[in-house]
């Protein structure tokens, strides 16, 4: 009952529209592609952070950058706001270089950290970042008021930001990056550390932005976020785009069998067993094996025979439809949350 009441309250105060769209920046060239990244290379010391990344964000779409920590997602985002000196390649925002004033005006950046002034109130934070984006006077006050409504913080606009809950700070963090009405929004892990209820509200805000025609680059390592929000997904690993497409395209291209047999063994696999399974297109991590299966009734007995002949003891076994997670595991050989 308590849970039900909470959910009902949250729904009541859900923002109904993304008001700052009224001030959407007119400087952006309407026909230009929001974001083009071509063959971008960047190293930090000996470590290659980006290794020939090429991406294009289409108008009005949400493109998800999915990858484990350290894959290069944040470096891609920082290169779009001109904070990374590229060794090779180019980045264009509405056809302009990232440090161009018009490009900057058309981009909103929501950092992974809660980059707000903790001692200022939500209204003061929004005013500060609005001014940094060139808003003044009535348009600024209007955008601040609308952003407070949008984030559901209108009744707490005078409190110190440090006193807000984690979810509220996250929403304010998004509003601080969108107060000037950007046409291209960079969301860098906007739901990290947020409880499921607050996450729902943030999803609502992002979907509203999409309805207003904002193109969004969305980095995350939450699979369900990428599946739910993103029109297309780029899987990033070791600084490379290893797959790009809609969820269905990725699954079809990576796992044409559309079903995955997952087997867990009691002990790690012997090299002979691993070799035999890889011959059947399996991906192996420690003692877990995923094998694409087209005709389960015919193929599964053969696969089990391989295990039996090796003497490996099976602890668990499941047959599943391929998901984004299985695509990721298949492509990288790793769980996403490593």
């Amino acid at each position: 009952m308590g849970v039900f009441v909470l959910v009902a309250k949250a729904t009541e105060s859900m923002p109904q529209r993304f008001a700052p769209a009224a001030t959407i920046n007119s400087l952006a060239v309407p026909d230009a592609v929001p974001l083009e990244i071509r063959d971008v290379v960047k190293s930090f010391g000996d470590r290659r952070a980006l290794d020939g990344v090429t991406l294009e964000l289409r108008p009005g779409e949400i493109l998800g950058l999915l990858g484990p920590n350290g894959a290069g997602k944040t470096t891609i985002v920082r290169s779009i706001v001109g904070r990374v000196q590229l060794e090779k390649g180019s980045v264009r925002v509405f056809g302009r270089p990232p440090d161009d004033a018009q490009a900057k005006a058309s981009v909103g950046y929501v950092t992974q950290e809660i980059a707000l002034y903790p001692l200022l109130s939500p209204a003061e934070n929004l005013q500060a970042f609005g001014r940094y984006q060139g808003l003044r006077g009535d348009p600024l006050e209007k955008a601040v008021g609308e952003s407070l409504e949008w984030t559901g913080l209108a009744d707490r606009d005078k409190e110190k930001t440090e006193r807000l809950s984690g979810g509220m700070k996250r929403r304010l963090n998004i509003a601080a990056g969108t107060i000037h009405g950007p046409r291209l929004l960079l969301l860098d892990e906007p739901t990290v550390g947020v409880d499921p209820q607050s996450r729902e509200r943030i999803y609502g805000m992002i979907e509203e932005l999409r309805r207003n025609g904002v193109s969004i680059l969305y980095t995350t390592h939450y699979m369900e976020e990428a599946e739910r929000l993103c029109d297309r997904i780029a899987i990033i690993d070791h600084g490379r785009v290893i797959a790009l497409g809609t969820k269905d395209e990725l699954v079809r291209a990576t796992l044409p069998a559309a079903r995955l047999l997952t087997i867990e063994t009691e002990e790690p696999l012997t090299p002979e067993l691993a070799e035999a399974l890889e011959g059947r297109g399996a991906s192996i991590t420690d003692s877990t094996v995923q094998i694409p299966v087209t005709e389960p009734a015919r193929e599964i007995p053969d696969i089990l025979a391989i295990f039996r002949n090796d003497g490996a003891r099976i602890r668990d076994m499941a047959l599943k439809t391929a998901t984004l997670e299985s695509v990721f595991l298949h492509l990288t050989g790793r769980e996403l949350r490593e």
Binding site: G82, R83, T111, Q112, I114, L116, Y132, A176
Partner: protein, 424 residues
Amino acid sequence: MILAVARTHFAKLKRDRAAFVLAFIVPVVFFSVFASIFSGSSSRAATRQISIAVVDEDGTPNSRRFVEALKREKGLRVIDVQTLPDGRKAPIVDAAAAEGMVRRGDVPLALIVPKGFGSAPIRFGPATGAPAIRLLADTADPIAPQVVSGLVQKVAMTSMPDVMAQTGIDQLDRWGGDLTPEQRARLQENVASLRSQTSGGTAAGAEGGLVPVEIRDVLGEKMENPTVAVFAAGLGVMFLLFSAAGAGGALIEEVESGTLDRILSTRVTMTQLLLGKLLYLSCVAVAQLTVMFAWGELFFGLELHRHVPGFVVMAVATAIACSTFGLVLAALARTRMQLVALSNLLILVMSALGGSMFPRYLLSEKVQKIGLVTLNAWAIDGFMKVFWRDAPLSALAPQVAFLLAAGVVLFALARRLARRWEVA
């Protein structure tokens, strides 16, 4: 548990190598600065010379002997030419010119040998009516008049022993009964012998107050509380430096919190960001100085209301210079620990050398010259001109020019250092 807490902090200190090194360097450097200023420096102290403008209004052989002996005195540097406002050099013709030099701060003291001095330079008895030597003093250095007064006694007696003996004989003759012609002849012979031995000038040993000296404080005499201006200027600058360094730490906070990342993705450039911070820091610094000087006026007799234009000019120039210094420190330090260690080191050394902790006239000339590289020295000199010398605004040009030039150079340095935050 206690050990666990301490261990964590040691681990953090070990990771922050620069802070680790600075934590040990700061006290050692600071100790060295003080040690080299004050200890083992009996020889340095002895080499401290007091500059003094001398005017001989008497022009008699005795007064000339006296002035020549002053020039030979090691503790004094006698200056008998002045630099006019147009840059020309000219002799110091009268007491008014010498007083002008003291007021401008060219010399801490002027010595006037008055008319009639030569007839009775030394007194053993009651006042003979002969005028006293006048010392026109800038008591910003309260020690110099006392030292010079003593040196005058020494110089007079060692340079004119014959005059001293003659005066003694006259007194004896006058008060002790008539001398026989034979006694008189032998005494005169002895006086002649003393006169012939005085070419050496300033033989040591004579002491006492036999040469009348009148000290006049030409600058502080009209002030309610003259020393407060000196303290306010010195301490004010030191605290501005500390508070600018602390506030500059906000830049490190911005890096840590990610707001810097966000700001630099907006239309704000790094130069604009630093200029914005400079404006903020300078406004706070001017407000701090105003509060401090107003407090001085209310409770310690500092005459702020009489010096508002000069105060404003110096406060703004000092605030800008100190704020840019704070920005450089913040841009230089990579962690808060480094910032604290670095600012303690630099600000304490600057304050010691620049006159914020003790007057620079206590230091040897060499160290005084080194002190001129500090913001403190120039700011204090400027405030002293305003509050102590009642100098016109135009007289602040060197101090304001130095502080603003330092501000420009330091800002350029901070901008250069901040490049590491702009792009990776």
